[in-house]
Structure formats: structure tokens, C-alpha cells
């Protein structure tokens, strides 16, 4: 999980994820074209994202395609945010019961 936060702590890497969110399965050349950075710089950032599990690559013919892997972010969500969601849901249930009792 440390690697996920380190990877997300950089604006260029977040932008790369945004680019893949907008259109999944892009090549290095496509991604490089939209960033004010050298090919080597983009490759370095992609490697950090891949090591954190936030992106994964597949080959299609001679091309290497990059895909956003949202699963680690889901795991972060489940570790903390889901607890709030449960509390929120149970608070709403209690509110509903109170209102219904008042109406009786």
C-alpha cells in the first residue's frame, strides 16, 4: 500500500492515470504526446505506476498497451472509506426509525 500512495503523490503520475481513465489501453507514444516531458521521463513514471499495481501492460502485436488497474484504489477505499459508508447507512436507518416513531 505504501507504493500506491508514493505513486499517487506525484502530479505527472496522476495525470498519466487521468489519461488512461479517459482512454484505456494507450501506447507510450500516445501518452508521451500529451505530456510536456521526455519519453524517458514518461517511461520512468509509468514504471513507478506499474510497480504500485496501478497500471498494467499488455502486448497487442508489436505494441505495448497501458491499462489503468483500479483494484488497488478499491482496496484503499475498503480499508477506510467503507466504514464511513456503513455508519452513514446505519445513521440513515436510525433517522428513518425515529421519524416513523414520531409519526405514530
Amino acid at each position: 500500500m505504501d507504493e500506491v500512495f508514493k505513486a499517487l503523490a506525484d502530479p505527472t503520475r496522476r495525470q498519466l492515470l487521468d489519461e488512461l481513465f479517459a482512454r484505456d489501453g494507450q501506447t507510450l507514444s500516445e501518452l508521451e504526446g500529451r505530456l510536456p516531458m521526455s519519453r524517458f521521463g514518461v517511461m520512468k513514471h509509468l514504471k513507478v505506476l506499474e510497480e504500485a499495481g496501478l497500471l498494467t501492460t499488455r502486448k497487442r502485436g508489436r505494441e505495448k498497451l497501458h491499462f489503468l488497474n483500479p483494484v488497488p484504489i478499491r482496496l484503499v477505499y475498503e480499508r477506510w472509506v467503507s466504514k464511513y459508508a456503513d455508519t452513514w447507512a446505519s445513521a440513515l436507518t436510525e433517522l428513518k426509525q425515529e421519524i416513523e416513531e414520531e409519526q405514530r
Partner: protein, 167 residues
């Protein structure tokens, strides 16, 4: 380097594609069982069972009888405990049913004392409804929790159809 070492299933073809990867501390055999056993599947997949005899060319259906049909298709490649390729037609709404048939590939790769599970959903329309593949992160993290802790992951919505058949 790493890419060359990975034995990938044949991917691509027409349409767009989404890839989901998760590492699970388990064996390929247990992971395969969790994917193909109806009772285990229901524990992390919105409470929905998947029924099939899992032979190559066989059909599968997932849903809660009399409540909701989720998906159906054919098991195109079955190579336990490494590879399962399925055609996929969604049925949970008219909108998703109209999207037609896509393909789901499950790949299990042992890595140290864990497994990398890679789900590739491809042959989707270029502007495919994201409901078709948007559930994978929730399903895969529920699968990880089940295999690593034996517990159910009951985040909001994740087991929405469990108990629906009895109700």
C-alpha cells in the same frame, strides 16, 4: 523483460478492453475453486451463483433464479488452474443486454507465495456501457478478502442479491 516472461492469453481483436489485476495470497487451485464453485462465487460476487459444468465449450449462467439474471455465455477455454476464457452477455438490464457479447479472460499466475489474478474484459464496444466492467474491482477485492481471511466483504452493494432467493 517482465513482459516477455509472462505467458499471456491471446487478447485484443475488435473493440475496447479493460484489465484488472490483483495479488491474492493463495494457491492457483484454491483460486480456481473460488472462481468456479457456485457457493464460493456467491460470497464475493453480489451474492450471485455461477452454474456450469466447466468443460471446454460448455455454457454458464449467473443470477438468482426468479429474481435476476446477471450474465450467460460459453466457456471458450478451460485450463484449470491457469486459464478460463468466457464469452459474456449481460442480462441485468435492457441497456447492458443491448451491448451484445464481449469476452472475459481469467488468468492465474503463481508469484512467490501468492497468485496474480488478471481479469481481462475485451471485445467490448468502443463506447461500451461502463456497468459491464465496472463491477470487477469490487468482485476481485471481495475474492481476495474471502481467500485470505475466510470472511465476507460486505461493503455497500457488494452482496446485494444474497438471500434474495429466500426472501
Amino acid at each position: 523483460m517482465r513482459e516477455e516472461e509472462k505467458a499471456y492469453a491471446v487478447i485484443g481483436g475488435r473493440g475496447s478492453m479493460s484489465v484488472f489485476e490483483i495479488y491474492v495470497k493463495t494457491t492457483p487451485e484454491l483460486l480456481w475453486e473460488a472462481i468456479t464453485d457456485p457457493e464460493m462465487r456467491a460470497k464475493y460476487s453480489f451474492g450471485v451463483r455461477v452454474e456450469s459444468d466447466w468443460t471446454p465449450g460448455s455454457s454458464y449462467r449467473s443470477g438468482v433464479p426468479g429474481v435476476i439474471e446477471i450474465a450467460s455465455g460459453e466457456n471458450l477455454e478451460v485450463d484449470p488452474p491457469r486459464l478460463l476464457v468466457q464469452s459474456f452477455t449481460a442480462h441485468w438490464s435492457e441497456e447492458v443486454e443491448a451491448e451484445g457479447t464481449s469476452r472475459v479472460t481469467w488468468e492465474i499466475e503463481p508469484v512467490g507465495d501468492s497468485c496474480c489474478l488478471r481479469v481481462t474484459h475485451d471485445q467490448l464496444a468502443e463506447d461500451a456501457n461502463d456497468e459491464l466492467f465496472g463491477g470487477w474491482p469490487m468482485i476481485l477485492s471481495g475474492l481476495k478478502t474471502l481467500l485470505e481471511t475466510g470472511e465476507l466483504l460486505d461493503t455497500p452493494g457488494s452482496l446485494r442479491y444474497s438471500g434474495a432467493a429466500e426472501a
